[in-house]
């Protein structure tokens, strides 16, 4: 019997906890805590937007990779324009010698051929072209023509010296079945397709490729593989379409996306594994993706016919092993409360003070979390609750800043892992200021009513800093003393201001404005969650340029204690209001770990 060691050269690892590293993708380990066999797999592929073509058009010849591609010709007005993609933007390069559409390409962004196509009114019998042009990275040169002039052929091959042209249209509107092979100098007739067709997708190598879909007498789902000698029917596409985008490395590894389903267009993506096609994530916009290029893990859809022709580029990514973030329950606090101040991380957190419901019922209670349960530790010197204060730091060195103790308080306390010590008060006493940082480098900003002051803590005293732009209370903090966000608040619900250590600047708004939200992470990778009223379950992820809504918290609530020193991948929300919660929710974005059940 074959064993894991015989295949992989090593025994199955026994691990007490799951590894959080992409390096474990495809490896098998035994979790000795849960007694499960586990592995890491890729998360489902997805499309994201890329840089737009300079000229919107379809029926392009496209080749190369997702990060280095070439798009030649195309367009309803027979264009000679050629553009080169570098992974983020398209740049115009030298034109084709012959403007045309419905051509196909093989090769890279610096060494390619573009062959066939259609142009009118050039009197080549009916406009179908046998032209073949080679690209050397700077200019196009005409080389050996196809034996049969054709448009809408399917292409196999990844270089400028080896390609297959399969099918297409020759006489007006008539699908053909011959294939031809290019060896770098001339085309040689090959075997015929089983099903004559035009506008099919094609991908893979000249001796190990596949074509799919297209238009025969009607649109077809038929796919055929090629081994360099003959064509063989393989599993059909699930959805009828012509002009699908194409990507893939072999006859058993292909991606078909978009296409014409006349009179409409498709956004569907299907992946072939050698035996069948499976629907995977749709493109964001339906279009006849025409050629496209790349692999099943990293593909490119550039332009295409839609309603109308588009310049949009979409990039397919099937490389990620990092799963989407999700919330799970953590240990419940011993005392349910609203408005606790939070510090620390998901596995070592503090929740200080708060309000146990009703009024006045502010607390001095502090609890410490170890990743599974909360324990009471030394009380604060000053009770504080409503219109919460904030905390920063760790379970061994923290600061609690302001809050509400019968009224707004400027009182601050630091924690050394054993006891709380009163330290210098804030200069500005205001309702529900926003603050964070550490016990030696903290920042407090805003407050009510319409307070614009900010001030900075150096471990000993508070010093006035520059003002925020929109004074407001009940906001949320992310970051450090010198790289901070002041998010949302009562009078500027979606506003986010960014601090760079010297001044506050308005930056991208959150999608859902809210008071009493919670935050964690940094100004380049942050998380903003819960809040209200009305109570919110929404979570927003900041990637340094945009806020994106991600998985909701299971219970809508506000005024919770975040693990403020957590990250956008790992934090928690403890306590809060609906009202007086003792619950803890843990946010985790980790590797896509699968338990092996059979």
């Amino acid at each position: 019997m074959t064993t894991y060691k015989a295949i992989h050269g090593k025994l199955i690892q026994h691990l007490a906890s799951d590894p959080d590293s992409a390096a474990y993708e495809g490896q098998l380990w035994f979790n000795t805590t849960s007694s499960d066999y586990k592995t890491i797999t890729k998360v489902p592929g997805a499309w994201a937007s890329g840089g737009a073509l300079n000229t919107a058009r379809g029926q392009i010849g496209c080749c190369g990779t997702q990060t280095a591609a070439l798009a030649s010709g195309g367009g309803a007005s027979y264009l000679a324009v050629v553009e080169q993609y570098d992974g983020s933007s398209w740049t115009e390069v030298a034109d084709l010698n012959q403007a045309r559409l419905n051509l196909v390409s093989s090769g890279t962004s610096t060494a390619a051929i573009s062959f066939g196509g259609y142009v009118s009114p050039i009197p080549a019998p009916d406009g179908n072209q046998a032209l073949n042009e080679v690209w050397d990275g700077s200019s196009w040169t005409e080389v050996g023509d196809l034996n049969t002039g054709r448009q809408g052929a399917a292409a196999l091959g990844t270089t400028s010296t080896a390609a297959v042209a399969a099918g297409g249209a020759s006489a007006p509107g008539a699908s053909i079945d011959p294939s031809e092979t290019w060896d770098g100098s001339s085309w040689t007739e090959g075997s015929n397709l089983n099903t004559a067709r035009q506008e099919a997708g094609g991908s893979g190598a000249v001796d190990d490729g596949i074509i799919y879909g297209g238009y025969s007498d009607t649109r077809t789902t038929i796919a055929e593989s090629y081994n360099g000698t003959s064509w063989t029917e393989v599993g059909d596409l699930n959805t009828l379409r012509s002009r699908p985008g194409r990507a893939g490395s072999s006859s058993t590894d292909a991606l078909a996306y978009g296409g014409s389903t006349h009179p409409t267009f498709s956004a569907l993506t299907e992946q072939f594994d050698g035996s069948s096609w499976t629907e995977v994530a749709d493109m964001s916009a339906a279009r006849a993706a025409d050629q496209g290029t790349g692999s099943t893990i990293s593909a490119l859809a550039a332009g295409g016919r839609g309603a109308p022709a588009t310049a949009a580029t979409e990039e397919w990514d099937f490389t990620q092993t990092l799963a989407a973030g999700a919330w799970s329950t953590g240990g419940n606090m011993n005392t349910g409360r609203e408005y606790p101040a939070g510090a620390g991380t998901q596995t070592a957190a503090l929740a200080a003070g708060g309000n146990a419901g009703g009024s006045p019922n502010e607390l001095a209670l502090v609890e410490q979390y170890d990743g599974s349960s909360w324990s009471e530790i030394a009380d604060l010197n000053t009770i504080r609750g409503r219109e919460r204060g904030h905390a920063g730091g760790s379970t061994t060195a923290a600061i609690v800043i302001g809050g509400f103790s019968g009224g707004a308080t400027a009182d601050c306390e630091t924690w050394n892992g054993t006891s709380w010590t009163e330290v210098a008060n804030l200069n500005t006493n205001a309702i529900s200021r926003t603050s964070g940082g550490t016990s030696t480098a903290a920042i407090a900003s805003g407050g009510g009513p319409a307070v614009v002051d900010s001030e900075e803590w150096n471990g000993t005293s508070w010093t006035e800093g520059s003002n925020i732009n929109a004074g407001r209370a009940r906001g949320s903090h992310i970051g450090t003393q010198t790289a901070a966000f002041h998010i949302s608040g009562e009078t500027a619900p979606t506003s986010v201001e960014s601090y760079d250590g010297s001044s506050w600047t308005e930056t991208t708004d959150v999608n859902t404005g809210r008071q009493f939200g919670s935050g964690a992470g940094t100004t380049s990778a942050g998380l903003f969650f819960v809040g209200g009223p009305p109570y919110q379950a929404k979570t927003e992820d900041w990637d340094g340029s945009a806020w994106t809504e991600v998985a909701d918290v299971p219970t809508a609530h506000s005024n919770s204690a975040p693990a403020a020193q957590g990250t956008s991948s790992s934090t928690l929300s403890a306590g809060g209001a609906t009202p007086n919660l003792a619950t803890t929710y843990e946010w985790t974005r980790s590797q896509n770990i699968k338990t092996i059940t059979d």
């Binding site: 799970s328 329950t329 419940n332 409503r386 909701d552 299971p554 619950t583 803890t584």
Partner: protein
């Protein structure tokens, strides 16, 4: 979600392990007052309810429980007054009055 079918149950959030990451990734979950939980009705969510000894409810039963809890919270808010306190001061002291909740 508009066309999803849900199951309704009453369960106590017992803390760690009540909702796991696998649960959260497998189906939509939302908690409401009175320990009412609503989840998309799939095999995994039915297993989750069973694992946590949940008591299944109809939507009407679940809504009645939530409404009763919200009504009680609203009454408590209405009854919690301090002489001479303005409405703004009351909100500062107590937070906003709990709003009505309609479960999906």
């Amino acid at each position: 979600m508009a066309n999803d079918i849900y199951n309704y149950s009453v369960m106590t959030n017992t803390g760690k392990g009540f909702i796991t990451l696998e649960d959260s990734r497998a189906f939509w979950i939302r908690g409401y007052p009175a320990d009412v939980w609503v989840a998309t009705d799939v095999r995994e969510s039915r297993h989750w309810v069973s694992r946590n000894s949940g008591v299944s409810k109809t939507k009407d039963q679940a809504q009645t429980l939530v409404t009763a809890a919200v009504d009680a919270a609203q009454d408590a808010w209405d009854d919690d007054n301090v002489d001479g306190e303005s409405s703004a001061e009351k909100i500062t002291r107590l937070g906003n009055k709990p709003g009505d909740i309609a479960i999906p």
